[in-house]
């Protein structure tokens, strides 16, 4: 069965979630990936959305993080101060899923502005929950299409700290979590080097090449020895994923 790059991204990210994992999920690709995992190999994954829904089990993918769909079949619905205070900062979340407009070699993220802060060329939505998700979750998975405009040598604005300037930065800032453990792109997967913390290409999706990944990266991309090629989506993964599209796609089609 043929598949799109976006589907491969969702599948590759979903496979990284273990059964029973507690995930803090943003809308869009992360929500797609987390719900795919829950409907395939990780039925007991617990999904938390920043709207305060804990253990959400949406029938259809929601358009926003606060659709009624999420509250209706959640284990608990709590206030926004509680979800960020007791649950995220309280250290209860295993995996945070984030997107961004820009990422640098140390997994730091920009979702604030393109261009100077006071006179931006593009004003982006801003931080949302990302800085504290990246600080407090045991690990963070970033999902981002790989292009030279997104994978930059220098961020226009550091919204969210990944590994800061490199080894030791997170510890100095007092962060409890391990930081970015994987960046899943449309070409492959980057993981931080255990010593330098620099994002390193460790896996290619089927059909993508090392050169594709280098050309799509705004810094001199390191490639791991023993670079793997990931498995294509299975028929089952694609069936489940395609059945998941719905509310947002239905709305877009109107």
């Amino acid at each position: 069965m043929s598949h799109t790059a976006a589907e491969m991204m969702a599948v590759a990210a979903a496979r990284r979630l273990r059964n029973g994992t507690v995930c803090f999920v943003g809308i869009g690709l992360p929500s797609k990936a987390a719900n795919l995992a829950r409907r395939t190999h990780a039925p007991e994954a617990v999904l938390l959305y920043e709207s305060g829904t804990i253990g959400a089990k949406p029938e259809h993918l929601p358009l926003s993080i606060g659709d009624g769909e999420l509250a209706e079949r959640a284990d608990a619905v709590v206030s926004v101060p509680e979800i960020f205070g007791y649950w995220l900062q309280g250290g209860r979340v295993d995996v945070g899923f984030l997107g961004a407009a820009q990422i640098d070699r140390f997994g730091n993220l920009n979702s604030t502005v393109i261009g100077p802060y006071d006179t931006p060329r593009v004003r982006l939505p801003g931080a949302g929950g990302a800085p504290e998700i990246a600080a407090c979750c045991r690990e963070t998975i970033v999902m981002l299409h790989q292009t030279p405009r997104a994978f930059v040598s220098r961020l226009d604005f550091m919204t969210t700290v990944g590994f800061g300037d490199g080894p030791g930065s997170r510890e100095a800032l007092g962060f409890s979590g391990a930081g970015v453990t994987a960046v899943v792109t449309d070409l492959g997967v980057l993981e931080p080097d255990p010593e330098s913390c620099e994002l390193t290409l460790t896996e290619l999706h089927p059909g993508a090449s090392e050169d594709d990944a280098r050309e799509a990266t705004g810094w001199d991309l390191r490639v791991a020895d023993g670079l793997r090629v990931g498995d294509p989506p299975t028929a089952d993964e694609l069936d489940v994923l395609r059945a998941l599209r719905t509310i947002d796609d239905a709305a877009s089609a109107e």
């Binding site: 659709d67 206030s79 101060p81 060329r121 004003r123 931080a127 800085p131």
Partner: protein, 283 residues
């Protein structure tokens, strides 16, 4: 007990030009009708506070009501940009917009501190982010452990406005589903207005529901459908198709103004707003 008033009287009595106003509702129970009434009454120079300034603030900003925005995430959820917000920040149209931006965790802590009558909220947050230089936070030391923590100035709006499902004749308010920062917004504000779907003789207890006593609320207005295109759990669903359509409406200055004229300025209230929407989208 809260005064039960028509929405236009409530807005006229509670909100003045130059006030600091928070309209909250985390995706759910967004007080859109109250936002429209602020626009109809031509409020100016407002400092608008909201964690997620989505369509309701896109409309207020585009209609020139805002001088300053305090927020943590400004987008059209699941759709993309807020074009009026971006136009104000990127091009100063229709007026420049000052920004004070936070993280969600920071805003949540600031609302909770405001409700608790504390000068600041405390969290582990903002550390290492460029936001620190651009917003109202400071580092403090824990007096017990010496740990360095972030203090965020409490949010204390002049007026807090939220939507809820229902109220009784004393103005006691009951809401359920995603409760966001509704309670914190009411309790942190000097004056508060709650719009509700309906007035009921008695608030039947519901598991998990939030009740705010009427004596802690300034005014309550009955505004059925007052959250649209957001939703009121148990009453109507989120109009996701409207959020998608808003992208094209908000993108163009003229189209935006003409939509606002037709649906807000030329309508007297939420009933006429909904009637206009039905005309625009035949079934």
């Amino acid at each position: 007990m809260a005064d039960l008033v028509p929405l236009n009287e409530g807005i006229a009595a509670l909100v003045r030009d130059g006030d600091t106003v928070a309209l909250e509702g985390f995706t759910h129970l967004i007080p859109h009708a109250a936002g429209h009434e602020l626009i109809r009454q031509g409020r100016r120079d407002l400092t608008l506070i909201r964690m997620t300034p989505d369509i309701v603030y896109d409309q207020l900003i585009g209609m020139g009501c805002a001088r300053r925005l305090v927020f943590s995430w400004g987008g059209n959820p699941g759709v993309g940009s807020l074009h009026r917000f971006r136009d104000a920040v990127e091009h100063g149209w229709p007026a420049p917009l000052e920004l004070e931006e936070h993280t969600h965790a920071g805003m949540a802590a600031a609302y909770a501190a405001g409700a608790a009558n504390l000068p600041f909220g405390t969290l582990r947050g903002y550390a290492g982010s460029d936001l620190v230089e651009r917003t109202s936070v400071a580092t403090i030391e824990c007096p017990f452990t010496g740990e360095r923590l972030t203090a965020v100035r409490a949010i204390r709006p002049d007026v807090g406005i939220v939507h809820a499902q229902r109220a009784d004749a004393q103005g006691n308010v009951q809401l359920w589903g995603i409760s966001g920062v509704q309670k914190e917004t009411v309790l942190a504000s000097a004056r508060s207005l709650v719009t509700v779907e309906e007035l009921v003789p008695e608030l039947t207890p519901l598991p998990g529901a939030v009740v705010v006593p009427g004596w802690a609320i300034t005014a309550v207005s009955v505004v059925p459908g007052g959250a649209h295109p957001s939703y009121a759990h148990g009453y109507y669903d989120r109009d996701n198709a409207f959020y998608v359509r808003w992208d094209a409406i908000g993108r163009d200055r003229d189209r935006f103004r003409s939509w606002m004229r037709r649906h807000v300025l030329e309508t007297a209230d939420v009933h006429e707003y909904h009637a206009r929407l039905r005309e625009a989208v035949p079934a």
